[in-house]
Symmetry: C2
């Protein structure tokens, strides 16, 4: 029987050879049933071509990846592994791996191992190993569009690892396929150069973030449980039955409670790439599980967290995307709503909301008058530059309006309107009058106009620009939709009030602003955080007297705050969203290896799936089938 004698060999030959010896020599190769055109090659390759000690080809059968050979390598013996991308005229194979493509030259002369016949029989997407010599392509045959276009590899030996059957779609970037087909065969879809790039960029980004947090700022990576207990109001939490009748775990929407408890525990600086769960049924572009960069610090204020996050993004930002400037722009919630009609403004372009209430303060136009008379009533507008492209209401070249309003407006009112909005000929002015919803309505129109203009060739937003923005000073509480007398947390019940607003907690809580900060990138909210309440009495007041929640559900947190809690705060960044904006993906599904469909299905494995009654028994649950299954399905 084969005996491992690595220790001895290692000493004599050094680390590299030890690796070869463990391969159990060439007999292994043969008995494994692989088609080794030249079975001696493997042993020889161990002693002749060197696998690098580090980098993407270390410890591997190959010596190089398919993307790295250049004219410098001409004359070298190399071993490549990869997928057959094309076969060309029985002369060339294009071999692909994650790093790129290399042209393999098929020897045309007859050989004892019949290399040509073997290679020309291959199907695309078959997996092979090729050993050969790097040669310079004949003059005029270089391919400038290919990183390895100066060279080709003259094949000397080939091993066929696996022959591919005909696939449901070709692995070529120009081949369009439906998303459901992509999801069903995700292991093929991930072979595309774009998906390879997305997965690798994500991994590198996360690695840099960890370096920054751990190595630069002394953060501790702590894993928190995902089998937890329902949080108050946690209606969107998945549940997991336990073996005790009636008792369920809950998959948390975020490690919020744990990160605060870790601060009470003196961990001082915590972070985690935290898997979070949210059961929202089928909202577009939401995933039932997602990842957040979860951060919490003790003895810090809002500015400290904001600086940390700016440094984090600057440090980890991919070089290919160009540098980002810090500090980021900061805007209050009030400013954002006033200027953009939304709490996550896309500040890559202007087209801000303009208040025309003054212009129309003494207007005779009935609907504007009644709008202004409402509580909080106003007349708002946006001026769409080059809005003529959209051929709606607009300012003509002669300065007159093309609008149903025209005949209702005096000359001076028109002048006033044009001056206030700054509208120039060819611009479009969109106005809305009414109460509180006027601004969000125009805010939405503003984005739609930018989208429309874009589709007509007018670019307001440079797609290569990344514009970060902090939004601060949010209201701490908002009236409940269905019960406006009752307040609910704008974000969550643990957010501390602004110091200067703290006394209002006990008198006019609806006026309190929170120490909450949202991070917005190109009009998408990619993170949010706050300084937390660190005094038990204040937290109890918020839960019990303002939110009217049952504080006993959070008794462990309240007790922790009473046991020496430091001041603390943190943030959570949505990693999937951040990466998707970074790579310009339309959906976060393009930056997740195995995402779920809109309906929460894994189209590849058919999860979720039926479970037998028998398997449910140990969890003491049974399925309540709807009365008429056919009507549901």
């Amino acid at each position: 029987m084969f005996t491992y004698s690595r220790l001895l060999v290692h000493t004599v030959l050094g680390g590299l050879r030890a690796h070869c010896v463990r391969t159990r020599s060439s007999t292994l190769t043969l008995s494994q049933g692989r088609l080794w055109v030249n079975p001696q090659t493997r042993l020889w390759s161990c002693s002749r071509t060197q696998t690098p000690n580090t980098g993407p080809s270390s410890l591997s059968f190959r010596t190089h990846t398919c993307g790295e050979l250049r004219s410098d390598h001409v004359g070298e013996k190399v071993t490549l592994c990869g997928w057959v991308q094309y076969l060309r005229q029985d002369l060339f194979i294009i071999l692909r791996d994650f790093s790129g493509l290399t042209q393999i030259l098929i020897p045309q002369e007859e050989s004892p191992n019949d290399l040509k016949a073997v290679l020309c029989d291959l199907t695309v997407e078959s997996v092979i190993m090729v050993r050969g010599t790097v040669t310079r392509r004949p003059a005029g045959q270089e391919n400038k569009n290919m990183l390895t276009g100066e060279i080709e590899v003259l094949a000397e030996n080939v091993e066929i690892f696996n022959v591919s059957k005909k696939l449901p779609f070709e692995i070529k970037d120009f081949v369009k396929k439906s998303e459901s087909l992509r999801m069903q065969h995700r292991y093929l879809d991930l072979r595309s150069s774009q998906m390879q790039k997305n997965m690798r960029l994500r991994s590198e980004l996360v690695m840099k973030m960890r370096e920054y947090l751990c190595n630069v700022h002394g953060f501790v990576d702590v894993e928190t449980p995902t089998l937890f207990k329902r949080t108050p109001g946690g209606a969107k939490e998945f549940i997991v039955p336990s073996r005790e009748p009636g008792r369920f775990y809950s998959l948390p929407q975020s490690p919020q409670q744990f990160k605060q408890l870790l601060m009470v525990a003196g961990i001082d600086r915590y972070f985690q790439m935290a898997r979070c769960y949210r059961d929202e049924g089928s909202k577009p572009d939401r995933q039932p599980e997602f990842t957040q960069v979860d951060i919490e610090m003790s003895f810090v204020d809002q500015s400290g967290i904001m600086s940390l996050v700016e440094g984090l993004l600057q440090y980890s930002w991919p070089a290919e995307k160009g540098p980002i400037q810090v500090p980021f722009q900061t805007m209050t919630y009030e400013e954002a709503m006033r200027g953009y009609g939304v709490d996550k403004p896309d500040t890559r372009f202007n087209m801000k909301l303009i208040d025309l209430s003054e212009v129309f303060s003494s207007t005779e136009i009935e609907f504007l008058r009644s709008a202004l008379a409402q509580p909080g009533g106003s007349v708002q507008a946006i001026c769409v530059p080059s809005g003529a492209e959209l051929s709606l209401v607009l300012v003509r070249a002669d300065g007159s309006l093309k609008s149903p309003l025209k005949k209702l407006l005096s000359v001076s009112a028109t002048d006033d309107l044009l001056q206030t909005t700054g509208a120039k000929p060819g611009d479009l002015v969109l106005m809305a009058a009414g109460s509180l919803h006027t601004r969000p309505l125009l805010g939405n129109l503003r984005l739609q106009c930018a989208e429309l203009l874009n589709s007509r060739g007018v670019t307001l937003r440079d797609p290569s620009v990344f514009h970060f923005l902090w939004v601060v000073d949010f209201p701490l509480f908002l009236p409940k939709d269905d019960e406006p007398e009752q307040l609910e947390s704008a974000h969550h019940p643990f957010t501390a009030p602004l110091p200067e607003d703290t006394p209002l907690l006990y008198t006019e809580p609806h006026k309190v602003r929170g120490q909450h900060y949202d991070l917005v990138l190109n009009g998408c909210e990619i993170g949010g955080g706050s300084i937390r309440i660190h005094k038990a009495s204040e937290q109890l007041h918020v839960l019990k007297n303002i939110l009217r929640e049952d504080p006993s559900l959070l008794s462990h947190l309240l007790e922790a705050l009473d046991s020496g809690a430091p001041p603390h705060g943190g943030i959570a960044l949505g990693l999937d969203r951040l990466v998707s904006i970074m790579v310009g993906a339309l959906s976060i599904r393009d930056v997740i290896a195995f995402p779920k469909s809109f309906r929460g299905h894994d189209l590849m494995s058919q999860a979720p799936d039926f479970v037998s009654e028998e398997d449910l028994n140990c969890y003491h649950i049974s399925v309540k089938w709807p009365p008429d299954k056919s009507t549901r399905w």
Copy 2:
């Protein structure tokens, strides 16, 4: 209203000041209701004492941690934040944070801010910030047992962040408390210096592992779903009801299928610190969720993975634990069972199993004869050095045996026995005769003897030694316990056979050895992996013809293997177990921030918890209460 003018300020003063400006000056401090003994201090501290740009005190209220001040710092103004560890004679406060302790000197003279009265009123574990000057301790009052024992800090200002109530136990290393009390108040338990150390060592280890995998060997960190589908035989998988009647997700025991699919997808080198789930009810020292270092590579053989893991552990091993030697010792399954009676031998000490079948081949002793006559029958022994400490069967100083066997053994047989076992006076020889279970029995006794000897002061195993061992060439299939004619996978159905054993798959599958490797540390299995089957036909044969599983449950994997699958293999290391051995913890609960109890409960939050019928409705399930609740509880 306060306006953020950071951009301007940043340009003028540089990054550090920007941080201060964002703090909103000292008015913030006052209105936040903190007891600032000298409210001017904060503003002043911004302009005078510098928070470092990097390291554990960056971006923080403090300038230094409680563990870092030395005599070099004498004369410096510093700000420390932490917990009150002791109050001594109204003269000193010992302030603690994660990094250590610092002595704070309370000024004794009367001051306008009445510092002494404020400080002497504090309870232990209250959280404060102290500003003061580092001074050298008077000669003779240095404390050599304290890293900061050369200095103390003369307090000038103090802010009290939170006053602690009386706690259920003291945060002192010498205070013993029950595990259930520790778990119930985990946020206090984590304040102990040992738990702080464990959490930080774990975080640093994981960071180094990531550096090695990503930066040295080009691995891609890919997150795989935890809401998945039941795997065949996945009886230990938690289930998660979906909103579709009767359909459930499953929380996977490992990302096995996903990592293989990622190889088919051309990801080439994957790793993940993967959260895994296993519902085993209440097995001691198991956790329903745990973490594995999950690795998979394409175009690699067993030796490649083994070298990778050796390099990984060497690179990430904490310096304080001393270097580890690679390559690790390797042993076949057969050798392990023969020499140690177990597939995860503790090779820190010898005391190997000795086969005495030869010695007793012509014995007249009836029970030995009948044992040897059985199929696979043998007589096995271990020789316990200094076994006299255990005062059982043993070898006397005169070379005679103290044993019931004595009168049955001839002089020559006794000599033979002593020679074969190498037993010396004072040693204990333990023998067992029988069939297949003889070795595991003695293997177990071997460990118990080492434990017993240890308790009597005879140390066989140096507690500071880490002995890694690879165990290889496991059988690929084992007979099922309840149905010995039927085979089941020794590890999992995806393990490839040894190349030389592959033909046996189709003829004598019970004889096939797998390309599986276990990593053992000090007698604990801390990892296992294999080269996987990469041909669909071979995988189908194993599932259908050998294991008699329904292959349709794995149709996505079979189809993937048929679509151009590269040869691949990998490993998973149990992170919790590895760290617990590293730090010498008795339980993996000591290296997990918020572990579950034996019964799978979170004693702090009382998870799992009851969920209302109403909340179960959307999942179309109901609880089947046991007929008589009282008998269960």
